[in-house]
């Protein structure tokens, strides 16, 4: 499999309290000083690859940087450092402001978590799906209508629902509209941000199967962001675990969940409710997460919350190390390797 998306040392920091206003910028320029701003390290040196036809999962708790990373990958925001390559082209070079008119815009698309919020309340389902086709594929009239109907059928959306507004559709139907819109322009990479989080269990099954089928039919790659580990395990080939802006573990999904190597992954996996297991044996995390504001580059991000905390954790930032197909950023990863 060739690599479709290559993310290398991507970082995105946000100034605390918003970007400096006009006065502050002026003041800085006048005093000639480099007034140091406190920054939130939302994404810090993240690197990974998504191959063609692969489904990669991304898990992590709120505040870990997944939404920032996702926005950067869909080119809705610019990154501070590093680069993002789609195929041979470095897409991170073009500013997010103008990327909407880029020729590769259609290649990366997204399905949003809240389908209702992601559809303009004044647009019908038809108009919502037609919008990217009009803008990116320049379709009109009959050709447009045919394409919208084809895509809607592919997503299991009955054609008479196309005239409805989003508030007239059920949760599952709205999810289908969101998916139809995203795949209408035949993207190479589809990012799914918790697409089934708001859906009932039975609807979730149908949508997950639909996503699987579409992936095979259209030959896309998926980045599947979710906090539901059991769903990630079913759908994803590989999984990335993020914590406070860094990737702490990655590898084949089943292996990572069955033999997690990083203590955070272990905590996640044992905390996730399982149908046929009791709740007793979970790895308890102590303390509060570290602050993401100007973190010490030498201290492991998980230090302080991890059940283990040694001097090594405090003085050297663990790097992502490879063990076959698995990568872990922990000084003690070897202890947990399956024999």
């Amino acid at each position: 499999m060739t690599s479709l998306l290559e993310v290398a040392e991507v970082s995105k920091f946000f100034p605390v309290g918003g970007a400096p206003g006009a006065w502050r910028r002026l003041k800085r320029r006048l005093t000639g000083g480099v007034e140091k701003l406190a920054k939130v390290h939302a994404v810090d040196g993240v690197s990974f690859v998504i191959k063609e036809g692969e489904t990669v999962g991304l898990v992590g708790e709120s505040g870990c940087g997944k939404s920032t990373l996702v926005r950067a990958l869909t080119r809705l925001i610019d990154i501070g450092d590093g680069h993002i390559k789609l195929g041979a082209r470095e897409v991170s070079l073009k500013p997010a402001r103008v990327f909407a008119r880029d020729r590769d815009r259609a290649k990366i698309q997204m399905v949003f978590q809240d389908a209702g919020d992601s559809i303009n309340p004044r647009f019908t389902a038809f108009e919502a799906i037609a919008d990217p086709l009009r803008r990116l594929r320049k379709l009109k009239g009959k050709a447009l209508r045919q394409r919208v109907e084809t895509v809607a059928s592919q997503c299991g959306l009955p054609l008479q629902l196309l005239a409805r507004f989003s508030h007239q559709l059920s949760g599952g139907q709205r999810a289908r509209v969101g998916i139809a819109r995203a795949i209408a322009v035949e993207p190479d990479l589809l990012i799914l941000d918790e697409p089934t989080a708001a859906l009932d269990v039975s609807v979730q099954v149908v949508i997950l199967k639909l996503l699987q089928r579409l992936k095979q039919e259209l030959g896309m790659s998926y980045l599947f962001v979710s906090h539901d580990l059991s769903v990630v395990k079913l759908l994803c080939d590989r999984v990335l675990v993020m914590y406070l802006g860094k990737i702490v573990e990655s590898g084949p999904a089943v292996e990572v969940f069955e033999h997690p190597l990083h203590p955070y992954t272990q905590a996640l996996v044992t905390a996730a409710p399982r149908l046929h297991e009791s709740a007793n044996k979970r790895l308890r995390l102590v303390g509060e997460p570290r602050s993401p504001i100007d973190p010490d580059p030498n201290v492991c991000r998980f230090y302080g919350r991890c059940p283990r905390g040694t001097d090594a954790c405090r003085t050297t930032m663990p790097q992502l190390r490879s063990f076959g197909q698995r990568h872990v950023a922990c000084h003690f990863a070897e202890e947990f390797l399956p024999i």
Partner: protein
């Protein structure tokens, strides 16, 4: 939930629109009354001048200050002019003032506000400062000042009303736009290849419209009152042009001596018009906002 007709989904559907209008009107009897009143006002404005029994400008001092009778339904004023004819003919002028003021302030204030809310930064600052400057003055005093400076014409009354209402529209539009700036559908629109300007025009503006429409109907009432107020103090329309405000002004002095009909009928017309526009606002919002549609 009633289904919209199953024609080609993106064609305009007059059947559904008609049903929608009937539904809203049927739901609330007050909206229906306001709507009927509105139609009457429009009819009076359009056809009034052709249908009135007397020439509104023709004075007949022999018939001055007659109380309401079979010949003169609303009586006559101090120059013998038929008040009924004047009240009906005045509808056209007052209605026109209302409509043009509202259209002007919607364009200026609405667009400025939406741009300020969506883009933020310098656009927001400039629009904000303009609005602040306008709001620093008592509104009626400002209107007076503008008309006094530019002259007593209908255009200037319209301009003054529009300027005075600018901050309100700008503020409403800005609030709505800045809330929606973060919405999922705006990001989805970016992913679909929409530039910022397209998003502003086709995604955000249609969502801001319903709220502004309600405000517009309230402003229509205010515009008429504003014109009437300005006329009352002599800064509005000049005599002998029939206009409700100036008629109330001229008629007020006769209230004490018992000729109540001079001021009362134009005053009642004013009141009904403002009442009608206010009630219509709610009905209009129901019609436009798809979330209220079932």
């Amino acid at each position: 939930m009633t289904d919209l007709a199953v024609t080609s989904p993106h064609e305009w559907n007059p059947g559904a629109l008609y049903r929608q209008v009937r539904y809203v009107l049927g739901e609330n009897p007050i909206t229906l009354i306001a709507f009927i009143l509105f139609v009457l006002i429009v009819l009076a404005a359009v056809f009034g001048p052709h249908l009135v029994p007397y020439d509104p400008l023709a004075s007949n001092t022999a018939e001055a200050l007659r109380p309401p009778s079979a010949h003169h339904w609303f009586g006559t004023d101090q120059l013998g002019r038929d008040i009924f004819s004047r009240v009906v003919v005045a509808t056209r002028l007052d209605f026109l003032i209302a409509i043009t003021s509202v259209a002007l302030v919607f364009l200026m204030g609405g667009l400025a506000g939406v741009a300020a809310g969506f883009f933020g930064g310098w656009t927001d600052r400039i629009v904000g400062r303009i609005a602040d400057t306008i709001m620093a003055f008592p509104l009626f005093v400002l209107a007076m000042g503008i008309v006094a400076a530019l002259g007593n014409t209908v255009q200037n009354i319209v301009i003054a009303t529009a300027i005075v209402n600018f901050p309100l529209y700008a503020r409403i539009a800005r609030a709505e736009a800045s809330v929606r700036r973060e919405a999922g559908f705006v990001e989805a629109a970016r992913l679909s290849g929409n530039s910022d300007w397209r998003i502003l025009t086709f995604q955000i503006l249609p969502n801001v419209l319903p709220i502004l429409v309600v405000q517009m109907s309230l402003t229509m009432g205010y515009a008429i009152l504003n014109a009437a107020g300005l006329s009352f103090i002599g800064l509005g329309v000049r005599p002998p042009t029939p206009e409700w405000g100036i008629m109330v002004a001229e008629g007020a002095q006769f209230m004490v001596s018992g000729e109540w009909w001079n001021a009362t009928f134009p005053g009642a017309a004013l009141m009904l018009a403002v009442f009608c526009f206010n009630l219509l606002g709610d009905g209009l919002r129901d019609m436009i906002d798809p979330r209220r549609r079932t």
